[in-house]
Symmetry: C2
Subunit: 361 residues, 2 copies
Amino acid sequence: MTNDTPATTSLATDHPLIDGRTASAPLIEAAFGRTPTHTPVWFMRQAGRSLPEYRKAREGVGMLEACFSAEHVVEITMQPVRRYGVDAAILFSDIVVPLRAVGVDVDIVAGVGPVMGSPVRTRADVESIGELEPHMVSGVLDAIGTLTTELGGTPLIGFAGAPFTLASYLVEGGPSRDHVHTKTLMYSDPELWNDLLSRIASICSSFLSMQIEAGASAVQLFDSWVGALSLADYERYVRPHSARVLGDVAHYRVPRIHFGVVSGELLTSMGQAGADVVGVDFRVALDEAAKRVPGRSVQGNLDPAMLFSPWEVVAQRTREILAAGKSAPGHIFNLGHGVLPETDPDMLKKVTDLVHEETTS
Amino acid sequence: MTNDTPATTSLATDHPLIDGRTASAPLIEAAFGRTPTHTPVWFMRQAGRSLPEYRKAREGVGMLEACFSAEHVVEITMQPVRRYGVDAAILFSDIVVPLRAVGVDVDIVAGVGPVMGSPVRTRADVESIGELEPHMVSGVLDAIGTLTTELGGTPLIGFAGAPFTLASYLVEGGPSRDHVHTKTLMYSDPELWNDLLSRIASICSSFLSMQIEAGASAVQLFDSWVGALSLADYERYVRPHSARVLGDVAHYRVPRIHFGVVSGELLTSMGQAGADVVGVDFRVALDEAAKRVPGRSVQGNLDPAMLFSPWEVVAQRTREILAAGKSAPGHIFNLGHGVLPETDPDMLKKVTDLVHEETTS
């Protein structure tokens, strides 16, 4: 369980599954600490409720229904690429998609988030969680095949929730502020906890591998709730499982991005979990983050709440972030967290253009 | 606005208003980095929903109604002192009490939190916020008078919300996850922002001064939402106002505790705002925190979500925290955030006893 694979600066083209289509794309170059033609930019949750075309595509279609429908995944994933000219598409999905795929009774309730039919707290609950097989996510994999053709030289980022965050949803039965049930299981029955996280890690590894084999050029392991842990608990109960997932996909030699919210205290440790790129939330300046993850590229970190301020303020902060990002071997511009639903898409377009203008040599 | 008063290790007995009643209490000794007879312990939100006697006292009485009623404040403040034998009482109040006292249309909605009749966003809104006078909080001050008699040698900690957190409630109109309106005002109209925070800081200073003059032996400035800010924004837009409040009560020479949640990145800076004691949330180990606030005492930091685990687990973590707390000049044992409503009071009693047993020389 101590699969802390060191980051490598291997060539994406080394692996037969990667066809060179995106090997010199700015996102890939920046992720591996090489020199991109410009600083790549994409936005977490760029495909979502802030876009009128997204709201239209989702009319009358449930969130999970859309995530399993190849047609919806392709359309929604492409929307922000068309509109913004960002340097990567992020697969339209949700972190609970692979759980639902293996038969977990989970739905996404509007205004609430993922809600379980019943929480996972006993050994029997844990042992009922099976392995992920490709046929269970065929809609997703079909969509990726279509997307890689449509995207041409623009990378598609595959995506999975990290074991701790998924475990929190499973054990709490839904979103939680305090993670009481999750932490109680973790502290009081470490063996069952490890069994649960191992099963989830298997699912995450499989899902990311399938996405890469279907054509994803990079992956992001998203640990939304990891900031609820102290460093000691993270390293003891959680990192081994995240490291296993990142290690399991290392041989594909596609960039692995690892992101958590409120993760400042954990950044160094998260960097040691095997990611090539560490996503940084808006609370930690990128030059400080670069010190905490030596040798790794960084991704981030404009505060999504700042996008409601006048353009001059946003532009100044964008330039500051670009300057701070130069401290790292590579910088992928992004927000420090997901796009808020009320965001004006024009603001994201202007940020995208500014990043490109400021960094094209 | 740069009233960064350095912490002093002055004697609490220097000020005529402090009668020496609590000058050698463990909480005061630990706060000033002297040697207490044992490590003092209290719990944020020790007077609250986790106690059956609290739920009884609150039957049919609204939260703010209770906060302005001397009888309720005395009874509820005393309850955890009687039950646990903690080393301090914390005034039963709410951070919006002084706002309501100056006429702000705010109520506390069960299950939601503070909700404003209308948000504060324009110059006219800001200018409508007046100064706090003692008669507006006479119930609170009367309660403090009674409490100091009842408490004898046990200190009463007075309490106020910090300017940023209060501003967030005012500007958002209620609790917020993203603080979009607050940050938009802060970034787009710094002058109006500073006017707003100055008015709130005046109210906080007045409220803390009144509490000290009525008999509080220490004060805590509570910045619940400060973790929503980057260090640069905190120092530019917020710290001067917090420092002013802490500076305004410095001459009373009672310990000033400053606490924020998700504040790891800000600890050093918060320590420089003038507090004698920096409260540490559960995400940062106390030995690490002590490095970030040299010369200051620390308060914390057992994860409140841990109190649902078996006693051996809680006891071990409590001992670890006591050991880590030795790195600081003084350590006040507390949780890393407030007591959760579902907490078993017996667990808090056992933690209190263990801290006393382990540290009594």
